[in-house]
């Protein structure tokens, strides 16, 4: 059987990737963010999984508004890094894992999560920045094959937090039922509090973010109970993307061990968070 060995939650702000790509990680405006990643990166370098699953959303690069799948999963052998309009990031293309991905689709559809299947997909910063947070210097290839799991967080109605958590629980069961012997890391991306448009642009809510950071470890069900309205009120219009952390958390056991977490404001217009959990009671 396959086994989830860790879960990593991280913001996916494009400027985090840009700061790395342009050698600005020691810049005074960025240094504390990257220093905050170091303990997680060191631990992850010692715990390389056979496959990773990145729960993320696209930002007008791999898909447009012709189709708005609520949930999607990539079954391709390879995912090209998208050119978002300013040249593609200088990071490797992504090798997929079609065998596990097809198993996940079948298991999840059997559990009545009717995912859209992507056989071709360009991945954008929502996907590559979390990989860079994990592995700052990938060289020619990322540490392992990666499967994209897409969530619509851009167009209302987004899936509910409860549905995302339930999807994560089903994802965990699907991984554990895979006949092959694999270790898996799951990344939940996005957040934390932020709002990009409107007179409330620039909104940050450190109290809510602290509550979220604590509960994602010990009481994720309380976060899954939050309504879309409450999430947008508390975390900002774009902060609702925190629901993708719940997919990751659901795939882990009830008991997890926190390896590291950190919080930084601002990454561009966003509160950036990172939280790394070893799966199981340790």
């Amino acid at each position: 059987m396959a086994e989830v060995i860790w879960g990593l939650a991280t913001s996916h702000v494009p400027s985090i990737g840009a700061a790395m790509d342009r050698g600005k990680t020691e810049d005074p405006n960025w240094k504390a963010l990257f220093d905050g990643y170091a303990p997680a990166r060191a631990w992850l370098a010692e715990h390389r999984p056979d496959v990773a699953i990145v729960v993320y959303n696209d930002h007008a690069n791999g898909i447009d508004l012709d189709f708005v799948p609520t949930f999607g999963l990539g079954t391709a052998e390879e995912y090209e890094v998208a050119d978002e309009g300013f040249g593609r990031r200088p990071v490797p293309d992504v090798v997929g894992h079609p065998e596990l991905a097809l198993h996940l689709v079948e298991s999840l559809v059997d559990e009545e999560f009717d995912l859209t299947v992507f056989q071709e997909l360009e991945v954008d910063h929502g996907f590559t920045v979390p990989l860079s947070v994990w592995t700052p210097d990938p060289g020619d290839a990322w540490p392992c094959p990666v499967i994209p799991l897409l969530v619509n967080v851009i167009q209302y109605p987004q899936p509910t937090a409860a549905r995302c958590y339930a999807l994560g629980r089903a994802l965990g069961r699907a991984i554990r039922s895979y006949p092959g012997d694999l270790t898996v890391g799951v990344l939940g991306t996005g957040g934390m509090s932020h709002q990009l448009a409107g007179a409330r642009a620039g909104f940050i809510n450190p109290e809510f973010d602290a509550r979220w950071m604590s509960a994602i470890e010990t009481d994720p069900a309380s976060l899954a109970a939050l309504s879309r309205e409450e999430l947008i009120r508390q975390a900002g219009a774009e902060g609702i993307e925190l629901i993708m952390w719940l997919v990751m958390r659901g795939a882990l056991d009830d008991e997890v061990v926190k390896v590291h977490s950190d919080y930084f404001v601002p990454a561009s217009n966003t509160a950036a968070g990172i939280a790394l959990f070893q799966n199981g009671a340790g």
Binding site: N29, H59, Q155, Q195, A199, I204, E229, A237
Partner: protein
């Protein structure tokens, strides 16, 4: 009938990109998406009005794009992630847009973010 987005949830200053907004903004958002490629950016810059007409924008949307009226683009159905493609082409940052949407200007907006972000109330 106004093309302004409904005030879903009654959250002041918080545009919600919902299905109705997306329906109104679809042609304009498709134009923004097309600006990912250098070839399309060149075509757009050579004839912005013609490019807008080719994508079927409404006259109000075309006017907003030509005038770089960022707030109007949001009001007329633009998604911030799509509108940002045009801003990037112009060399504008998300902090610049934040300065526009809040009326603070880019410098004050950036300073507010570096001071920990803006709060309600």
């Amino acid at each position: 009938m106004s093309e302004t987005a409904p005030d879903r949830f009654g959250l002041s200053g918080t545009p919600i990109f919902d299905g109705e907004t997306s329906r109104r903004g679809l042609r304009m958002n498709k134009l923004f998406m097309s600006l990912r490629t250098a070839e399309n950016r060149e075509r757009f810059l050579a004839d912005e009005a013609g490019y807008c007409q080719g994508f079927g924008l409404s006259p109000e949307q075309q006017q907003a794009v030509l005038a770089r009226d960022w707030q109007a683009m949001i009001d007329l159905g633009g998604s911030i992630f799509y509108v940002y493609k045009l801003a990037m082409m112009d060399g504008r940052s998300m902090q610049y847009l934040g300065g526009v949407f809040t009326g603070m200007g880019e410098d004050d907006f950036l300073a507010a973010m570096r001071a920990g972000g803006r709060r309600d109330g």
